[in-house]
């Protein structure tokens, strides 16, 4: 690949140390346009107007807002955080020069540099929407020999949508995707350009009234990604969205909608970062996946929101609703997540296995260090016959952190022959952290076969010493052992992100021993 990416790899290693443990903790100095602080109908009208939305979209938002006002924040999770003042935040911020850019020259240098620091290949590919010939040259750029590339020397292509605060700033490879019939654009654009699809599917997996945070998102969602893969199409490249919160006091409420038509396939990755700030910032996203007959979506997340400092000051509150609906027979979804960031995480990517023979998978690595808290897990709802689900969860707690795995496996009356396999492993580093496993099982059909395995172990001093005796530094040794512990999940990630994820494991655990 190009210099930029290689430069990042080197910089990553070097700045990681310099910035203590959080390497994405820079903020970008660009002028921005913000909605006034607070949340009311006018703010929602403002957001909707900014996005030039049709009336139906505004109505949908307002209805959600009315609902939200009648709801209260859920408190059942094993999380402690101060009351959130929803009126004390900004709900919309965009870079001042406007939203989407016609050419790469129009994107403010600061934003490009910001994404470059994150290792996001916007500039290196020199691809931005509508820039003629860009896709081809990018394809070339990406197939150059590169030490990080796949064994056959070919770097798989990745199309990127980048969301900066509330706005999608760049979507790459649009032309090439269009040729394959794949729609990959920001949700704001999709609302304008493909209203029939958005109308049909938005809120069809996570209803407006689903839960407090989802309802809030429905009212104020700013941007996010829309993907539509037509019947029989195998998406020719990985799709990826990078979310970045930059502005202080600004919430990010992204909304992602992916539709895989009959017999199609798409692999999608989202990455998230935010600058270091003393105050907590709110992130409440909704992700909806619709999978039709015989289709498959592979959804991977590398969540690295700012976790707060080592004393627990600052960090992102991450309240996310992610759900996949295997709406027809033989549909398949797999969620793979590497969660290392956020001060507080509340997240349960779920699979509704409605179609007969549909398959849901959840592979998760959650790492908490210092004062981080995570209450995360999955729900597998078996409605159709012969539906299968598989849960592999690896939780690593270090420092004074606390994490809970909360998993629901529900077998409904008509789900003959349903099967679930759950494996939950927790690893504790040091004596001040906590790990809890809370499995819920509901079976209304006696033919179901459920297997559950759970282990909790401590990072072994003997293993650590063994590695050190062989020459590994203490932190390298911890990273190696933890990466080994996470192996089963790491290998589910798209290959080029697996390497990044392994490095992230090391960075997130810095200072956890000794």
């Amino acid at each position: 690949m190009t210099d930029v990416k290689q430069g990042i790899a080197k910089e990553t290693v070097e700045t990681a140390k310099a910035l203590e443990t959080y390497k994405y903790g820079f903020s970008t100095d660009i002028e921005s346009v913000k909605a006034p602080k607070g949340l009311n109908e006018d703010i929602i009208r403002y957001i909707s107007a900014k996005k030039e939305e049709p009336q139906w979209m505004l109505d949908w938002r307002l209805e959600a807002f009315q609902r939200w006002q009648t709801m209260s924040e859920p408190r059942w999770a094993h999380l402690t955080y101060p009351e959130i003042d929803y009126q004390d935040a900004y709900y919309y911020a965009e870079p001042k020069s406007g939203a989407k850019y016609a050419s790469i020259d129009d994107v403010p240098e600061e934003i490009l540099q910001d994404f470059e620091k994150l290792g996001i290949p916007l500039r290196e590919a020199e691809v931005l929407l509508g820039v003629k010939g860009a896709a081809a040259s990018a394809a070339e750029a990406r197939t150059n020999p590169d030490p990080n590339s796949t064994p056959n020397g070919e770097k798989p292509k990745v199309a990127v949508d980048a969301v900066f605060d509330s706005v999608s700033v760049a979507t790459t490879f649009q032309a090439e995707l269009k040729k394959a019939g794949v729609i990959f654009m920001s949700i704001s654009e999709a609302i304008r350009e493909h209203p029939e699809l958005v109308k049909k599917y938005l809120g069809s997996v996570v209803p407006v009234s689903d839960n407090f945070f989802a309802t809030l998102n429905s009212a104020v969602f700013s941007d996010g990604t829309f993907v539509y893969v037509p019947a029989g199409v195998r998406c020719p490249m990985e799709l990826s969205t990078y979310f970045r919160i930059n502005e202080a006091n600004t919430g990010q409420f992204e909304r992602t909608l992916i539709i895989a038509e009959k017999g199609s396939y798409v692999s999608y990755l989202e990455g998230c970062t935010a600058p270091m700030r003393d105050e907590n910032q709110l992130h409440a996203a909704v992700v909806e996946l619709v999978i039709l007959e015989g289709a498959e979506i592979k959804y991977s997340t590398v969540q690295n929101w700012y976790p707060g400092d080592k004393d627990g000051v600052g960090g992102i509150y991450n309240f996310v609703t992610k759900r996949a609906d295997c709406r027809e027979k033989n549909a398949k979804v797999s969620w793979t997540q590497v969660e290392t960031g956020s001060a507080v995480t509340w997240k349960y990517p779920s699979c509704i296995l409605r179609g007969d023979n549909s398959v849901g998978e959840f592979y998760s690595i959650a790492i908490t260090n210092n004062h981080q808290q995570a209450d995360t897990g999955t729900k597998m709802i078996h409605l159709g016959k012969n539906t299968k689900s598989r849960i592999i969860s690896k939780g690593i707690s270090a420092g004074k952190s606390d994490q809970t795995y909360r998993g629901l496996v529900s077998i409904h009356r008509k789900a003959d022959g349903a099967r679930n396999f759950t494996q939950c492993d927790s690893l504790l580093i040091g004596g001040d952290c906590g790990a809890h496993t809370v499995p819920y099982v509901e079976t209304k059909n006696p033919s179901a076969i459920l297997e559950h395995e759970a282990t909790t172990s401590k990072l072994s001093e003997e293993q650590l010493f063994y590695c050190q005796q062989r020459g590994l530094g203490e932190e390298e040794a911890v990273a190696l052992l933890v990466n080994g512990f996470c192996r089963d999940v790491l290998q589910e990630l798209p290959m080029e992100f697996a390497v990044e994820a392994q490095k992230l494991v090391q960075v997130s655990l810095e200072g956890s021993v000794g």
């Binding site: 072994s460 001093e461 003997e462 293993q463 010493f465 063994y466 590695c467 050190q468 005796q469 062989r470 020459g471 590994l472 530094g473 203490e474 390298e476 040794a477 190696l480 052992l481 990466n483 080994g484 512990f485 996470c486 192996r487 089963d488």
Partner: protein
């Protein structure tokens, strides 16, 4: 080369090594024999710098470099290798990946160039043949589900690959059959060969049995009892211990 002077080691509340001195000159092999619980492994761990094995008094130097204040990985980079009495399993990390990562970490600390994956593979495969580990074993997670004997072979594989300046072998022979014992001898003798830098290399072989010493000819034998060296002598001492046991030292140690 390895010099231990008046070493005292405390584990938890109890003093286990109680004033032990030992010197292994470059090019030599010394054996340490002694009853169970006499402190042989404790000595090995203390030299390797394991936390919890607190050196309360005494000095350990390797080639005149003081080891006392070094972390275990710094000692490894300085050329110290410990073949563990009970080697660890590392789930999820393939054998080759583990050894290469460790070797490169050492090389990096010494300011040497990292070894490439391809070069390492060639080299490691050749050594694996010598120690009798198959290619399929090398692809498996490190030591996971391996037999006791296989784990000992894995220790020897790492010793052969890392070619340390000084190796402590803690009961590498226990649980090994005759063929495997010969293999251990081959690995050690290969590292001792003058053309492989044997003249500047040293070994401390902890064992209960004469039979390993038939393959590795020791220059000196030390008897460890209750945290002290109670007798030192030439190779003939091993045969004497084999016939008379350690009872004769019980009084001296008390």
């Amino acid at each position: 080369m390895l010099k231990i002077e008046n070493l005292h080691v405390t584990v938890g509340e109890s003093e286990i090594i109680k004033g032990l001195s030992l010197e292994v000159p470059a090019g030599e092999v010394h054996a340490v024999m002694g009853p169970n619980g006499s402190g042989k492994s404790t000595l090995a761990y203390a030299v390797a710098g394991r936390s919890g094995y607190e050196v309360t008094k005494g000095d350990i130097t390797l080639n005149s470099k003081a080891l006392n204040e070094m972390s275990p990985d710094e000692r490894a980079a300085a050329g110290l290798f410990l073949s563990f009495q009970s080697p660890m399993e590392i789930p999820g990390v393939a054998v080759m990946n583990f050894i290469r990562t460790a070797l490169n970490a050492q090389r990096k600390q010494r300011g040497e160039k990292e070894i490439s994956a391809a070069e390492f593979l060639r080299f490691a495969r050749a050594k694996a043949k010598v120690v009798g580990l198959s290619d399929t074993k090398l692809k498996r997670p490190f030591n996971v589900g391996f037999s006791g004997g296989e784990k000992k072979r894995m220790e020897m594989l790492q010793m052969a690959i890392m070619a340390p300046a000084f190796a402590i072998m803690d009961e590498t022979d226990s649980g090994l059959d005759i063929d495997a014992l010969k293999m251990v001898g081959d690995v050690v003798n290969d590292l001792r060969a003058p053309e492989n830098g044997g003249a500047s290399r040293g070994f401390l072989v902890i064992t209960h049995y004469q039979r390993l010493l038939d393959h590795i000819k020791p220059d000196r034998i030390h008897v460890l009892a209750d945290g002290r060296i109670v007798k030192s002598g030439g190779p003939e001492l091993a045969a004497e211990l084999e016939t008379h046991g350690y009872d004769q030292f019980a009084g001296e140690a008390a």
